[in-house]
């Protein structure tokens, strides 16, 4: 992998310990030093809001603090929009400091920037089977998708070490929907033009639905790997992942018991998955004894949730069903905690994932619950092995795994097993072979029936610090 190291250097009129102390302090010291970071300690989540798109909002570089030498060095290990390290070095210079920044740019990052700047980057189809991954490397979804690319890369490398697909190595081609359905359509078309006959989606359902419609009549198999509301028909459309009605069915009673109350408030982002999940809640919750006391939506990309939080407070809700995702979910939860909502309510967030929890920070996750087919702390033997291989490959500061990102690892393996069974990577044959299957995965046994409906064990989990710990399963 080719990595370019870019360097910048400036002299600052204050001694090194003072300049070092400005990092993460929100002191108006420019986008690099004004990194969003609760604590400047190794392992802490850090967000750099880089003005890389002069015409648009800042691009969020998501990572963690790696090595730290007080007064001398800060290393940021980042994963979005590309993998690399950015290192700040502080050296005495007269009575001031010389600050030197070194930032790594790999080939994927370089390509990503070229595309973001509107340059054509050619992707010619090769001879080997190509598998597409459409994920969110920018926008609010880049948070929940932080480990998706890593998961696909790990699965593809393992498959290739094991003989590839029918003896040929698989080439993984990754696209970024920027958490925007229109961009997603462009990127999916690019992946298809690059020879991908199957594209895996680790994006919001809004992107999957848009691409599904835009690519109707195209011979490309589209597979949504992560939790979704279902409802997309077609022989070349497969939606793996958890479904809202079953998730709510598994979590509603334990949550009402824990909250010692039955009043629910529904709050989420304004697009298809939250709307469908709320529709399922209106059906499932009353049946289980719940009562709905309010509902609010906010567009994806919202940063101020004061109005929603006040409405929840006024409603007297015992449980909040939160269907916010990504950066919105992180901001909503932090603001709820700041408001003190956790003292009166519990929150069930079906799409809450460990990398979003890392951004919320250990102090503000109290009372937060999720329901999914996987959590990183799952003690299955296959998961323990997967985590060991993931850390060995991507390092200790790589983002945590979650049901959203781990679903990508599993989908790559499901695709490979189907292609092997079908004896081809031709999409119709692969799609057919992905039905009526039963596969042993890190999350446990997953079955796909003849209609493409997925069955898996669900876990209700509670946030403990930035981890999800299983509290009950069904």
């Amino acid at each position: 992998m080719s990595v370019l190291t870019l360097t910048a250097q400036e002299e600052v009129t204050a001694p090194p310990h003072v300049v070092f102390g400005l990092f993460g302090a929100g002191a108006g010291a420019g986008w690099v030093f004004d990194a969003l970071c609760d604590r400047v300690v190794p392992g802490a989540a850090v967000t750099l809001r880089a003005p890389l798109d002069p015409a648009g909002p800042p691009v969020e570089i998501l990572g963690r603090i790696g090595t730290l030498r007080p007064g001398r060095l800060i290393e940021i290990v980042h994963d979005q929009p590309w993998r690399g390290r950015t290192v700040l070095r502080f050296a005495p210079h007269g009575s001031g400091t010389r600050v030197r920044l070194q930032s790594e740019l790999d080939q994927h990052g370089f390509e990503w920037l070229l595309r973001r700047r509107g340059h054509a980057v050619r992707n010619a189809p090769g001879d080997d089977p190509a598998l597409g991954l459409l994920t969110s490397k920018s926008g609010p979804g880049s948070l929940f998708a932080a480990a998706s690319d890593n998961m696909a890369t790990l699965a593809a490398e393992e498959i290739n070490a094991d003989g590839g697909v029918r003896g040929r190595p698989v080439e993984l081609v990754v696209g970024d929907d920027a958490t925007d359905p229109t961009t997603g359509v462009h990127e999916a078309r690019r992946l298809a033009a690059a020879g991908c006959r199957t594209i895996l989606f680790a994006t919001t359902s809004a992107t999957f639905v848009a691409v599904s419609e835009a690519m109707a009549g195209t011979d490309v198999l589209l597979v949504q790997t992560l939790m979704n509301e279902g409802g997309i028909d077609g022989r070349l459309r497969i939606q793996l992942g958890e479904r809202p009605a079953r998730q709510l069915g598994a979590a509603a009673v334990p949550l009402m018991r824990a909250a010692a109350g039955k009043r629910w408030f529904l709050a989420g982002n304004d697009y298809c998955w939250p709307r469908s999940t709320h529709a399922a809640a209106r059906e499932v919750l009353p049946r289980l004894g719940g009562r709905l006391v309010g509902e609010r939506f906010a567009p994806l990309g919202t940063t101020d949730f004061a109005a929603v939080i006040e409405a929840v407070d006024r409603s007297g809700a015992d449980v909040v069903l939160s269907t916010f995702v990504g950066a919105d979910a992180a901001a909503f939860q932090r603001q709820c905690h700041e408001y003190g909502l956790h003292r009166r309510t519990l929150t069930l967030a079906p799409a809450m994932d460990e990398s979003t929890l890392a951004r919320i920070g250990p102090a503000a996750t109290e009372g937060l619950h999720s329901v999914s087919g996987y959590v990183e702390s799952l003690g299955t033997e296959r998961n323990t092995e997967l985590l060991a291989r993931y850390r060995a490959r991507f390092g200790r500061w790589a983002p945590p795994l979650s049901t959203l990102s781990e679903s990508v690892f599993e989908a790559v393996h499901i695709w490979r097993a189907a292609a092997e069974r079908a004896g081809t990577d031709e999409p119709h044959a692969v799609a057919a072979a992905m039905h009526d299957t039963r596969i042993d995965l890190p999350r446990g046994i997953v079955t796909v029936d003849g209609n493409g409906v997925v069955e898996q064990r669900l876990y209700v989990a509670e946030a403990v610090g930035t981890q999800l710990r299983v509290s009950s399963s069904g």
């Binding site: 400036e10 010291a29 930032s103």
Partner: protein, 110 residues
């Protein structure tokens, strides 16, 4: 620039080092470049510069018997690398704005 050619060109550590040096300056003579790239000899640096030039990443200007190199201004690579450099530099420049006044200045103003 065709990206495949550019990525082949970027596959070599010496060529990446040359690009990193050039991305920090407007233009650099062959001699000055060779002084900064110490891992290989002058002839090898020239060979790498030719690969970068063919890939459309680097532009060459001749003046008498001297040759000067810069990141190809017409290329998309230039656009991206220049943007990154400018963005990182502006990020560091802003640090001075947040530096608290030195103690003696504070005493004088008090």
């Amino acid at each position: 620039m065709t990206s495949d050619l550019a990525f082949d060109a970027l596959a070599d550590p010496v060529r990446r080092q040359i690009l990193a040096v050039l991305s920090e300056t407007d233009e650099c003579s062959a001699g000055a470049l060779a002084e900064q790239i110490t891992s290989v000899g002058r002839t090898a640096v020239s060979t790498h510069l030719r690969v970068l030039r063919v890939a459309g990443l680097v532009a060459e200007r001749r003046a008498g018997r001297f040759r000067y190199y810069s990141i190809d201004p017409s290329g998309s690579a230039r656009d991206v690398l220049a943007l990154l450099n400018q963005v990182f530099r502006s990020g560091l420049l802003a640090v001075n704005d947040a530096v608290p006044a030195a103690p003696e200045e504070r005493e004088q103003s008090a």
